[in-house]
Symmetry: C2
Subunit: 343 residues, 2 copies
């Protein structure tokens, strides 16, 4: 997974994020929750593979109660990883990734971790769970070892598990700062002070099969071969400024146009890679056409897509009826709905 | 269609391409044929709208006997435009475009043109006929008025009808030079001295309906809004060099990879425009996936797509059986098949 040199740099990044603290043998268990997030200005392309450092900043909105819960405890026996109530084989993809991450945090006394994760994401909604999963693990580590870390340090630790997990430490709109430092200590996420209770996210699932190429692989291919990568980085910087302005004004049209344009530009970067990578399917294109049709009929709704074929919709409460009519199978989420009670 | 200033510049470009010559009243009629062409390195984006001057060079292969025939005569009565045996209403799209073009060549004595065009393109193959159509008209004008123009002047005249018509004056591989001059006199096409008898073009029609947005409109939107337009121009210049090298070596793999990458990059430029333009449909994506699958099975076949959903295949005679099995409805063309007898 990582070279020896990469591992040294990852360990150094962890130490730097744990000032005056370290893992140690503790009894009991700790539990933490982190929201999933959907990027409105995308993270696409790493400047450092080992430290998951991005080439640009990005902006997401958290999905409130939809996310992942992680429970951590130490054991003298073999490590265990559980997902949604089932114990995973150590070689399974998620278990291997989680254990490689937890290895960075094993106490010197040699205990192993028992990790139990559970996703509260509606499984039908097709959201990625690695961001919320690794953010929840980072929070559970903090609680288990009693570190009481500042949020930005937690964001750095989550990032070392999965890049976009950096954005899953906070509710609401979150900006992941690109940072400039080689050790990544300035590449963390911060919340934007905006609540937008009428905002809705619709999840349109067009395909449940696993994607044929991981997003990490696709990013690497784009960096190596896409002629539009440099222009993409520049586009993201402009989109990030525009999206933050739109969020501050709660301007759905401005935010939607940037988010949709940014997502499609990301897919364009992939389409232009050699050999081409293209996640949207015919059903994705049909959903995008329906979104344009709704707009032509005066319904302000916009689309975004991650590195996969599923389509996410961005709209406001007042448009919920026509959106639900056009997309009867969509799962509609309210990112800020129970904000008051959750804070 | 054009402003008064545009028209003056178009007339000046015509005069410059007709040294010592001009239209004049002549009896009889003249007939000419021009092949359609398919671009392997695309023309996408004009640097001059009125003169149809491209931002970059491009490279195409002509389709031999598949193209358009134009018959021209002068009349003292009203102008007429016929297409495939039917007289068109003067306001119809092709008639209006053809008449606006022919207006540049009306004799001072005031005669009108009777234009009869006929396409020998297999209508099921979904090829654009405007390139071959305007190239045939330019050749018919040359024959009617007895100008005996050099080929590059004819290429310039054809270009003033439809940009890619500049490439339809010659058989085989043709490079349309970008040129640098403001009047476009150095933006014409030249043939590459390569015959490649085993080359095959397969036409996979996935959609017969007219496209919702013309390629001219789509080009304009890309220039105005696509963040990848500048990178596209640079990509084309590299692709053009690589494609010419591949053609000189008759290296299908090298040519196919460049052609496919170039076509998908063009569609990526459109996908990233704001608002996005995307011609491929689910059926186009399925055809592209089948092409990749064939390659994975060891069949060297590559795809290209113009500003529409139909897919064209590039392969050699030895792969014709597996390609026909995978695409039973494809129309297979042999660009160089009857080269010897046609020259």
């Amino acid at each position: 997974m990582y070279t020896a040199g990469d591992l040294r740099r990852r360990r150094a990044a962890v130490r730097a994020a744990l000032p005056g603290r370290q893992p140690h043998a503790v009894p009991g268990e700790a539990r933490a929750f982190a929201s999933a997030n959907i990027a409105l200005v995308k993270y696409w392309g790493k400047r450092d593979e080992a430290l998951h450092l991005p080439r640009t900043g990005s902006l997401s909105v958290s999905l409130g109660p939809w996310g992942s819960e992680a429970t951590l405890a130490l054991t003298r026996k073999a490590a265990e990883v559980w997902l949604d109530g089932e114990k995973l084989a150590p070689g399974s993809s998620f278990a291997a990734r989680a254990l490689a991450y937890l290895e960075l945090f094993r106490p010197e006394s040699g205990e192993n971790f028992v990790l139990k994760t559970r996703n509260t994401l509606p499984t039908a909604a097709g959201f990625a769970s690695s961001a919320s999963g690794f953010a929840a693990i980072a929070k559970a580590l903090d609680a288990l070892f009693g570190w009481d870390l500042p949020e930005r340090n937690l964001s750095v630790l989550a990032r070392l598990g999965s890049g976009s997990a950096a954005r899953s430490l906070r509710d609401g709109f979150v900006e992941w700062k690109c940072g400039r430092k080689a050790d990544g200590s300035d590449s963390y996420a911060v919340a934007l002070p905006v609540a937008w209770k009428t905002l809705r996210i619709g999840a349109v699932v067009v395909e449940r099969a696993r994607k044929p190429l991981s997003s990490g692989e696709a990013m690497r291919r784009c960096i190596a071969t896409s002629p539009f990568m440099a222009a993409w980085d520049k586009t993201v910087r402009g989109d990030l400024r525009a999206a933050k302005e739109a969020v501050a004004k709660r301007d759905l049209r401005a935010l939607g146009e940037v988010a949709e344009g940014n997502a499609l530009a990301m897919h364009a970067v992939m389409l232009a890679a050699r050999e081409s990578v293209f996640y949207p399917t015919g059903a994705s294109l049909a959903a995008l056409a329906k979104v344009r049709q709704l707009r032509a009929e005066g319904v302000p709704v916009y689309a975004t897509m991650d590195a996969g074929p599923n389509v996410k919709l961005l709209f406001e409460a007042k448009s919920e009826s026509p959106v639900r009519r056009a997309f009867p199978d969509a799962v509609v989420l309210c990112p800020f709905a129970d904000k008051g009670s959750r804070r």
